[in-house]
Subunit: 185 residues, 2 copies
Amino acid sequence: MDALTVRALAPRLDVGAPALYWHVRNKQELLDEMSTFVMRRVTDALSKVPPGASWRDDVAAYARVLRSEYLLYRDGARIFSGTRIADPDVVKAKEPWLARLTAAGFTLAAADDALDLVTAFVVGFVIEEQERNRSTETGPDRYSLAERDAWLGDGAELVKAAGHLRDDGDPRFERQLTALLDGLA
Amino acid sequence: MDALTVRALAPRLDVGAPALYWHVRNKQELLDEMSTFVMRRVTDALSKVPPGASWRDDVAAYARVLRSEYLLYRDGARIFSGTRIADPDVVKAKEPWLARLTAAGFTLAAADDALDLVTAFVVGFVIEEQERNRSTETGPDRYSLAERDAWLGDGAELVKAAGHLRDDGDPRFERQLTALLDGLA
DNA sequence: ACCTGAACACCGTTCAAGT
DNA sequence: ACCTGAACACCGTTCAAGT
């Protein structure tokens, strides 16, 4: 993100840096446009998900698509989640999901809570996930179990043991998603 | 965050900007120290929570403390969550929580999943919460319901209606936390 | 051990001027 | 309508020099 300077970007478009200011008021507006572009992609992908057999399938599909879209961009969840949305269509993309949940018996308030809860979970999960990926690139630190145990020092036996049991990626996501869906049920 | 420059910080410490480089290698190290300082506060607060009557009470207390600590700092959840942790004690702070959950009948893997799921939820929830707060400060945009409805335009009736039902802050957090705890149960 | 003054490379942004 | 060149204020960082 620090490397994204207006002076580095301009040559990629075969122009000088000041040329960008004809198209955009300032750098912040450029970043905002980036955000809405990504969020539009997210909601486009979400709106193309066909209704499933049950609300559980629908909400699970929602969560998986949201996660996979964030994963497309480096630090996507941290950078693009919870940013001010400039496009009404992005907010309106919630409509079919509220419709499916209310049709399945949720009150409107409960449906709204459910989608928000799932969204919060996915955002938090992927932030952590992408940070871990970024760290392993940077240097093979304490993500090897032995090094991690040594780094932790004495005590905290459960933390160490949990580290050895831990599996990352899809299965972990699916397990936690299942627990969350159980709660919504 | 943009306003936190090394040249603006130094006068607050009654020194010139270069003086900071005697104490810290570069600005990134300063930001990392900030992160670990905040995370240490978070884990200190968590370790002072007395065991409750049930694992539900314990996990709920965990979630509430985590949220309230993030809320202490502007954009705290977005900035400080999922950062590389430099202090083993911060990671070790998980130990008593794993102990309480396993004592309550969770397997170690399930306890680890449970804490991670709750953490992800809190992070996602507070990111959204703090962004909303920041937006209302900036300008009374479309956070009045009438303006929001107008901004949304035609269609999306459920989204509009949900906006009118919506209550922010503690009750919303508690409801979603309850659903999550039900899922863990 | 801790800090300053001066300097360097780089950044976002402006603006007159070009086509 | 779209872009350039030159310039400005500011930033992170270095380093010789001070106490």
